[in-house]
């Protein structure tokens, strides 16, 4: 049977014809190509479905009202005109929430990663419960306790704390990951050179945790910026954040192009923040978590 074997050298030298090398063209050889094409189409269609709701919002936000709509930027004048209070409030709430989250999360992460103590697993579970409780439950529980016990209903502080409790676990995760990945030699070196523990923490550990902390900040910002359901419950009439403004506008005035402009602006800002996140950190601090 030896004469049937085709030696590779023989192919290179052109002694064996190309047809002999490939053999008959089987129809099934085409099959992977068709399958690949279908797979591409399927994925592109899926991605189209994801961006279409945003795309159509953007499109309507660029049109004038009336029978024959024309392209215009006038709707965005409303966003930075009559809606600007909501945008400013949203930014303020996001900033305060992120800041307070940092103050809460950094010590907690440090304790959870660097110390051994009893009940650590329980504490970790407790701190992660907000992540798994639906926003509606958080909202209803908070409004009841705000109304009758804390007196925080319709107040800026109440709004911020409602956001904090729902979002600080999301900050905890990247900061803990950053701290775990950090080699202890730097801290040891600082301590050996005579720096105190506090000095070591602020001059060595904290700067080295920087990427994890900024990852947490961006994630947190996006969540708080878009938080709607908890806000709906706990924000009183004086504190209308931007997503709540979108909701109110739809309920009171229907689907207006100006509201579309506000919604598009909010989504663009969130999207840019997330793009920044992926550019800077990839998915290093997510550990399998999507988003």
């Amino acid at each position: 049977m030896k004469f049937l074997e085709v030696r590779p050298q023989a192919v290179d030298r052109g002694q064996v014809s190309r047809k002999q090398k490939i053999g008959r063209l089987r129809p099934s050889a085409l099959f992977p190509w068709i399958l690949d094409g279908l797979a591409y189409l399927y994925i592109l269609a899926g991605l189209l479905v994801f961006i279409m709701p945003f795309g159509v919002t953007l499109w309507y936000s660029l049109l004038t009202r009336g029978k024959s709509p024309k392209l215009t930027l006038a709707n965005y004048r409303y966003v930075f005109g009559s809606f600007v209070d909501s945008l400013l409030l949203s930014s303020k709430v996001s900033a305060v929430t992120v800041l307070l989250n940092l103050l809460i999360v950094i010590p907690a992460a440090y304790a959870l990663v660097c110390y051994e103590f009893k009940g650590k697993k329980f504490i970790l579970t407790l701190l992660n419960v907000p992540l798994y409780s639906p926003a509606i439950i958080l909202g209803i529980g908070l409004i009841l306790i705000y109304h009758f016990t804390y007196g925080l209903y319709n107040s800026f502080l109440g709004l911020c704390f409602g956001m904090i409790v729902g979002t600080f676990p999301l900050m905890l995760l990247p900061v803990m990951v950053a701290l775990k990945d950090l080699d202890t030699v730097y801290e040891e070196a600082a301590l050996c050179l005579g720096a105190g523990p506090l000095y070591t923490f602020f001059k060595v550990t904290l700067p080295l945790m920087g990427p994890g902390i900024s990852a947490g900040i961006i994630l947190n910002f996006v969540i708080v910026w878009n938080e709607f359901l908890v806000t709906l419950f706990i924000a009183g009439p004086d504190y209308i954040t931007a997503p709540l403004k979108v909701y109110n506008q739809i309920l009171w005035f229907g689907y207006q192009n100006t509201t579309a402009a506000l919604a598009a602006t909010l989504q663009i800002i969130s999207f840019l923040a997330l793009i920044l996140y992926f550019k800077l950190f990839g998915s290093r601090f997510l550990k399998g978590r999507f988003f």
Binding site: Y115, P130, S133, I137, I164, V165, V246
Partner: protein, 281 residues
């Protein structure tokens, strides 16, 4: 210090460091949830004045509001099913054949910004004379019946939770040892056989975890049924809760409705965490 005495300082430092986080969690999560449980057993809004304990709320929940519970579970279940059926091929192709994963991931964050913007966008898409209507008409989909129907609500919810399903299944696919596929290939199995006998069974846990996650997430859906549903679809627990608490001031019933969501979604989350095996931290 005597040897063997508990080192107070060593225990004190982590406790102090954890204090703010634990305080916030207890004050703004554990206590409210405790209030919710207590409130569901008191009549009307009597909890804060003179408490009258009763089981009336739960009786009403399972009689008058049975339909609401059923609608909520049905919508969440249907959307999770749609997610699973459409999400598995999506995750599989994305994992095995699509080179631009970063692009896909960047575009997939849009539904995660929240149901509000999604409902807003889908309203424009489903509008009878909207942007999409000529395409839909060509495809033979009844455009007039699309908005304010079960279909639109289920589709909206499915799009909202689609990324969770894809993430779960992709993690499961990544965790498959390639040696198993190679072994099957060497033993002469065809591609279809490998898929159905090796890949699919090995990603079962990811499918279950994704399904449960989508289901649990959609139990608390508020904006999508409100904006895309008709009267029938608006009979979901979260909308009823909002009405009972903030419009009717009937806190007892609202809390009982919340308890149902809480029990369902915590058990679903627990199960999905068991199944996902750390896929989602």
């Amino acid at each position: 210090m005597r040897p063997g005495a508990p080192n107070i300082k060593r225990q004190l430092v982590p406790c102090l460091l954890l204090l703010p986080a634990v305080t916030v969690t207890v004050l703004f999560l554990v206590l409210p949830l405790f209030y919710l449980v207590m409130m569901s057993f008191t009549e009307g809004s009597s909890f804060f004045f003179e408490q009258r304990f009763t089981l009336e709320n739960y009786r009403e929940l399972f009689s008058r509001y049975q339909m609401v519970l059923r609608t909520t579970v049905f919508l969440a279940f249907a959307s999770a099913l749609v997610d699973l059926l459409l999400g598995y091929p999506f995750a599989y192709f994305l994992q095995t054949r699509f080179p631009y994963k970063d692009l896909a991931r960047a575009l997939m964050v849009f539904p995660l910004f929240g149901g509000l913007y999604l409902a807003f966008g889908l309203y424009y898409l489903f509008l009878p004379k909207g942007v999409l209507s000529p395409v839909l008409e060509k495809l033979g989909i009844p455009v007039l019946a699309l908005l304010y129907s079960k279909t639109s609500v289920v589709l909206g919810m499915a799009i909202l939770t689609f990324p969770f399903m894809v993430a779960n299944i992709m993690t499961a696919l990544q965790n498959i040892d390639p040696i198993l596929k190679e072994a099957a290939l060497c033993l002469g199995a065809s591609r279809f056989r490998i898929f159905f006998r090796v890949t699919l069974p090995l990603t079962r846990s990811g499918m279950v975890a994704g399904f449960l996650m989508c289901f649990g997430w959609n139990l608390g859906a508020y904006e999508i049924p409100l904006f895309l549903g008709s009267q029938a679809e608006q009979q979901v627990v979260s909308i009823k809760m909002y009405q009972q608490a903030l419009v009717m001031s009937n806190y007892g019933l609202s809390a009982a409705l919340g308890m149902m969501i809480m029990v369902l979604s915590f058990s679903v989350t627990y199960l999905s965490l068991r199944f996902s095996k750390g896929a989602l931290a």
